[in-house]
């Protein structure tokens, strides 16, 4: 994927650019708002990582608003030290697709950027999700694995749906909390782990291979075993 990183802090930018390149992406970097806007508008990116406070007269919000005004729909992840709830709301209102506050774990940023870039390429509403031998019918809300029906609670269904929509990607606990429960705070207890472990009991335990994998220091990934 081609990713643009607009970030003025050298250390953070270097860390993000290196990490994204290691993950196999092509990364461009701009260290001020003007260059960032120029690059974002003139080239094609799959995703943009955007700092809010930028030198060069154009801050992150202005950059994004200008971009959206030009009908450029490239997915944007805000990366900002402005952590108040209202700041997040303002960022999302300006057209941001996701908002991550500094300091952050790189795994979280990577998971979110990859999730967004994938979503940007989505082709119309799906009625069926398939990962390996696991099938989910979004209309009848039925789940089958290897032809065998699996009964899920509504919340378990949504958790599995989220994992399947992001199959092959790392999904962090915070992403699950936001995407499945719509909660924007970090509980002290390992609530997500418990729910994923319950889902595993139903989806993985009765079968010889596992689909839901734990990714150390990051989160979870739903992935069919390589043949």
């Amino acid at each position: 994927m081609r990713i643009l990183v607009v970030e003025d802090d050298k250390d953070v930018a270097g860390f993000v650019v290196k990490g994204l390149r290691e993950a196999g992406h092509v990364v461009e970097h701009a260290d001020n708002g003007r260059d960032g806007l120029f690059m974002a508008a003139s080239e094609n990116f799959d995703a943009i990582v955007l700092d809010r406070m930028l030198p060069g007269g154009i801050d992150g919000l202005r950059l994004l608003e200008t971009l959206r005004a030009q009908n450029n729909q490239t997915p944007v992840v805000f990366l900002s030290a402005l952590a108040q709830v209202d700041d997040r709301v303002r960022g999302l209102k300006a057209g941001g697709d996701d908002y991550l506050t500094k300091p952050f774990a790189f795994a979280e940023l990577l998971a979110r950027v990859e999730g967004l870039a994938r979503r940007g390429k989505g082709e119309g509403p799906q009625t069926k999700l398939v990962t390996g031998d696991l099938e989910m019918d979004l209309l009848s809300r039925g789940v089958k694995r290897a032809g065998q029906k699996i009964d899920l609670q509504p919340r378990e269904f949504r958790l599995l749906e989220y994992l399947m929509r992001h199959a092959g990607q790392v999904v962090t606990r915070t992403m699950l909390l936001e995407g499945v429960w719509d909660y924007h705070f970090d509980p002290q207890t390992n609530v997500i782990d418990v729910h994923v472990s319950r889902l595993r009991q139903k989806v993985d335990k009765p079968f010889p291979t596992s689909l839901i994998h734990t990714v150390r220091n990051a989160g979870y990934m739903l992935r069919a075993e390589q043949p």
């Binding site: 952590a83 108040q84 709830v85 209202d86 709301v89 300091p103 774990a105 919340r155 429960w181 909660y183 924007h184 705070f185 970090d186 509980p187 002290q188 207890t189 390992n190 609530v191 418990v194 729910h195 472990s197 319950r198 220091n217």
Partner: protein, 470 residues
């Protein structure tokens, strides 16, 4: 005028003078004035009677009746005089009509000389047909003497009143200064840094006592806030120093002693975890400050707590089960409230986090909600853990407060502080009770219920009184 004491003294003197004048006027009106009015009425009646006789029987009848009335006048205060056109006396007890009388019609005062002594008379003069003159009056010498006495008395009284008023004004100014001196001295001491000083309460339970109590309450609160700030900065220093120091030690140790790359990595990862803890504390502190600043009131909306709480019960129910505990929700079909959905979610999540942390295995955690009529919605979380000793309960929601039983458990000591802030934001309260065994945390959201009003956003501003009956 730069002295409020002098101003109050002057006001006192002014009010005193005004009331004295009003009293004198009333006194005058009800004594001397009354006598004058009575005399006028008597003269009027007398004149009317004489004129009636005159129209019935002419001059002769008038002369007769004047003689009769003079005879019957026991008090010897009646004055009559009837004169012919040449101003010669026809009847009456005055010898002659004073010359200036001719020019004066109606009522007036007249100096008379009668039976050898001078006096004053109130008279009424009427011109009869044929240029005859009739004078009817009353001797008011007695009235005049009384009026003089009264005037003297009132003048003396005025002097006394002025003295008393001045003395009173001085006394008021003095009292004012004495009363304020203590407040002023206390304020000076406080601004000089002595926060322990308090205004003296006289015990008379008057306005000044109430003022003193209010000021003392304010000073107590300032003192508590100062303590809080000191305590929070100490706690921040301690709670953040510890993980930072640990991370630093790990990194330094790894840098100089790590035998293998795996060791190094493990040390770095543990340091990362420590730093994440630091970030979490910062986030919690900032979130609380954000809530306390009230900036989130813009996000207030009409919400139903029932699905919100059931979602949380669902999220935490699984965790409780995993730990062998039971989370029992007791939530009615609908609990309407007005507030910030995200904040309430986080507050209840914090209460549930705590309840599960402190409940023993197989313990039951209850999550209940109800709409208390007239008081707004109320959310209760009860556990069966060790509870909080009564002495600590009031302080438990303070930032970084950690009870004896909580010291060994993980946590930042900020959970309840956030719940408290959310309660305050919603014009409500958080209180902790003994659930015997365990702890019951009640989050009362004193919110408006019903359709939004124009000034809906300001309702959260109100103190803990029911805004509207449910």
């Amino acid at each position: 005028m730069h002295s409020a004491g002098v101003r109050f003294g002057m006001i006192y003197a002014g009010v005193f003078a005004l009331s004295t004048i009003a009293l004198a006027v009333f006194l005058w009106w009800s004594t001397a004035g009354l006598l004058d009015r009575q005399t006028d009425a008597a003269i009027n009646a007398d004149t009317q009677g004489l004129l009636e006789r005159y129209s019935d029987g002419g001059l002769l009848a008038l002369e007769d009746v004047i003689e009769q009335r003079l005879m019957g006048n026991v008090d010897d205060d009646a004055i009559y005089l009837l004169t012919d056109p040449a101003l010669h006396k026809l009847a009456g007890n005055l010898n002659q009509l004073p010359t200036r009388v001719l020019q004066q019609e109606g009522s007036y005062q007249l100096a008379i000389e009668r039976a050898g002594h001078r006096g004053m008379a109130q008279v009424q003069q009427i011109e009869l047909p044929g240029r005859f003159h009739l004078l009817v009056g009353r001797d008011v010498e007695v009235h005049a003497q009384m009026t003089r006495l009264l005037t003297d008395a009132l003048l003396w009284a005025a002097g006394a009143a002025m003295l008393l008023g001045t003395a009173g004004a001085l006394a008021v100014r003095g009292l004012f200064r004495i009363t304020l001196a203590d407040v002023s001295a206390t304020a000076t001491a406080i601004s000089a840094g002595d926060l322990t000083r308090r205004v003296r309460v006289s015990g008379r339970e008057d306005e000044f006592d109430r003022l003193a109590e209010t000021i003392n309450d304010m000073l107590d609160r300032i003192g508590r806030l100062m303590d809080g700030v000191r305590q929070v900065s100490n706690a921040i220093a301690h709670d953040l120093r510890t993980p930072i120091a640990r991370a630093r030690a790990r990194l330094e140790d790894a840098a100089s002693h790590a035998a293998s790359e795996a060791d190094l990595r493990a040390a770095i990862e543990r340091a990362e975890t420590d730093l994440d803890g630091v970030v979490a504390i910062f986030n919690a502190l900032l979130r609380i400050a954000e809530i306390e600043a009230g900036a989130r009131r813009s996000a207030f909306a009409d919400i139903d707590l029932a699905p919100l709480l059931l979602d949380l019960a669902d999220l935490y129910g699984a965790v409780a089960e995993e730990r062998g505990q039971v989370l029992r929700p007791d939530i009615p079909a609908s609990v309407p409230a007005f507030g910030d959905r995200e904040m309430i979610q986080q507050a209840v999540a914090n209460l549930l986090d705590n309840a599960m942390k402190f409940s023993p295995g197989h313990g039951t955690i209850r999550l209940a909600a109800e709409l208390v009529p007239g008081q707004g919605p109320r959310i209760t979380v009860a556990d069966e853990g060790p509870g909080i000793p009564e002495a600590d309960r009031a302080r438990a929601p303070e930032r970084f407060f950690r009870g004896e039983t909580a010291r060994s458990t993980p946590g930042s000591g900020l959970g309840l502080a956030l719940v408290q802030a959310v309660a305050t934001l919603h014009g409500g309260e958080l209180w902790l009770e003994d659930a015997a065994p365990g702890l019951r945390a009640v989050l009362a959201l004193n919110t408006r219920v019903g359709p939004p009003r124009v000034n809906a956003s300001s309702s959260a501003n109100q103190p803990a009184v029911p805004v509207e009956a449910a």
